[in-house]
């Protein structure tokens, strides 16, 4: 193996596993105890980078569990699912699965869904800017073609299903929130994550709307998404949903 690759492999192993330090130390100048302490600085940097990246993506979870515990979560998550990119925006994409399996957060079974909500918000924050479509454009489509259209939704738009009140938990942890803090833990909420200009919005989405949007986001035609929704929610009001969606500039066009 070329020397450079051998050095980097040994150094990487020592960062991920302290017991591997001697193999890295043989490449380095200086007394063994000093080298140990210096490698420990890099090991701490590695965890700090994971903490910083996850804190940026999951600020509500950090508030919920506290900074110190969150640092431990970052360290444990990184151990099992290390960063694979020099762009830390991508780190922590599987944080929800980690939280679902990590034994010390099992008393907060809603945490993985909250993580999915925050991930969707994080993605929406950096999604492409796209102007909303005018409702008049929809009116211009010949009625016989309407069934077959597939909407192009605003970049970053996402639906996050949950059996827990994740929208409420997210809302009361937003900066500047000054309302009451009660949470009805029996309530199941589905989050609609969207961009309004440059702001990311999270709202409680009625189950019928969520079903329609999920089908449509997967590329279903208007007719198919509507019938899949009506099968389960006979009182679904497609017209009302579309009016709200156009008003919120969530529809950006149709897919050709």
């Amino acid at each position: 193996m070329p020397e450079l690759l051998a050095f980097q492999s040994d150094f990487a192993a020592a960062l991920r596993d302290r017991t591997r330090t001697p193999a890295a130390a043989r490449w380095l100048a200086g007394e063994a105890d000093v080298v140990d302490r210096r490698i420990a600085i890099y090991r701490a940097n590695m965890v700090a980078a994971a903490d910083k990246a996850l804190s940026a993506a999951y600020p509500v979870i950090r508030q919920v569990v506290g900074g110190e515990f969150f640092h431990g979560l970052a360290r444990e998550h990184q151990r099992g699912a290390p960063s694979t990119s020099g762009d830390l925006t991508h780190f922590g994409a599987t944080f929800d699965a980690f939280l679902a399996s990590f034994e010390h957060v099992q008393d907060m079974p809603w945490l993985p869904d909250l993580a999915r909500l925050e991930r969707a918000a994080h993605v929406a924050y950096g999604a492409a800017d796209a102007p909303g479509w005018d409702a008049a454009a929809l009116a211009a489509i010949a009625p016989e073609h309407l069934d077959a259209i597939r909407f192009r939704w605003s970049p970053g738009l996402a639906v996050v299903q949950s059996a827990y009140p994740i929208v409420r938990v997210w809302t009361i942890h937003q900066p500047g929130f000054d309302g009451a803090f009660e949470v009805d833990w029996q309530r199941a909420e589905t989050a609609l994550v969207a961009r309004d200009g440059f702001a990311v919005t999270v709202s409680d989405c009625p189950p019928a709307d969520a079903r329609f949007l999920e089908a449509s986001l997967r590329g279903a035609t208007l007719a198919d998404a509507a019938s899949a929704t009506l099968d389960r929610h006979p009182d679904f009001d497609l017209g009302a949903l579309l009016a709200r969606a156009f008003a919120a500039r969530l529809v950006c066009g149709v897919i050709d």
Binding site: E3, L4, A12, W27, L28, R38, I39, S85, P155, R195
Partner: protein, 278 residues
């Protein structure tokens, strides 16, 4: 290799999110602002809008922290492609990367790890820098690192390595004087003597920052004012190389904007005073 237009000689600051609003409202006089490239590998949204506003007001310097040019096993093509998109969008005055590695075997440490300064590493870095400059169609500056360990196999000093890299590839150098000072203290050498290896034309930018002291080690935190020995080193560098675009770099425990502007003004004063003797 065509050199992109350089920012006017003078001082700039790292532009960080908590200062966006104040910078856009006050429009302080700055030669340029610098941001971390990876924070803007996004398609749209508030961050990209802020960068576009900054670009409209100032020359922008894109400073990469995640490319890992020195990884022995691979260069991340998707990272280069993201940087290329950003460079095309922003048309920056300066583009810089670090002389370091940060990933191996598919795991990224998101840190700036030191290389052994060997001929093997030099050949690899020369290939990588050639590739990067040809993809970006512009000169890139390579920055010297702060480090807490050094490789015993090094065959030359870091500055000699950088000087040779510049000679082989036409890249420029981003001379971080705090990093040089941190290493001089951590490894016991005279910082100013290391400047002897560099020629004025290859130095494209200077970074100034603060550091922390942890036990027997100086740690490069970018979280404090520039210390007196680094200001002295800066005066020395200006006498040797002439005035260069100079950045006040501050990333943790961000101070008020005025503190950054004061540090930038101090850099400008020194550059003006010392350039007379250059």
């Amino acid at each position: 290799m065509t050199a992109a237009p350089s920012p006017p000689h003078g001082a700039g600051i790292g532009l960080r999110q908590p200062h966006y609003r104040e910078v856009f409202e006050r429009r302080p006089e700055l030669a340029f602002v610098e941001v971390h490239s990876e924070n803007f590998f996004l398609e749209g949204g508030a961050s990209m809008q802020a960068l576009e506003r900054a670009r409209a007001a100032y020359p922008v310097s894109l400073h990469g922290v995640g490319l890992s040019l020195g990884s022995a096993d691979r260069l991340a093509g998707e990272h280069v492609a993201s940087l290329k998109r950003l460079v095309d969008r922003v048309e920056p005055a300066l583009v810089s990367e670090h002389l370091c590695w940060g990933a191996v075997g598919g795991v990224h440490f998101n840190d700036l790890l030191p290389l052994p300064y060997t001929n093997e590493a030099l050949a690899l870095l020369a290939d990588r820098v050639d590739h990067l400059q040809s993809v970006l169609k512009r000169q890139v500056l390579l920055e010297n690192l702060s480090a807490y360990v050094e490789c015993r196999d090094s065959e030359m000093t870091e500055t000699a390595f950088l000087a040779e890299l510049a000679r082989r590839t036409g890249c420029g150098l981003l001379l971080d004087l705090n990093n040089l000072y941190v290493n001089a203290r951590n490894f016991g050498f005279a910082a100013a003597e290391r400047l002897d290896a560099l020629d004025a034309a290859s130095v494209g930018q200077i970074h100034l920052a603060g550091h922390d002291v942890v036990d027997d080690c100086l740690v490069d935190t970018h979280g404090a004012i520039v210390c007196d020995p680094v200001w002295s080193l800066y005066a020395d560098a200006v006498r040797r190389f002439g005035p260069k675009p100079t950045l006040i770099e501050w990333d943790t425990d961000l101070p008020t904007l005025d503190v950054l502007l004061q540090q930038a003004a101090q850099a400008s004063d020194i550059a003006e005073r010392e350039a007379v003797h250059a």
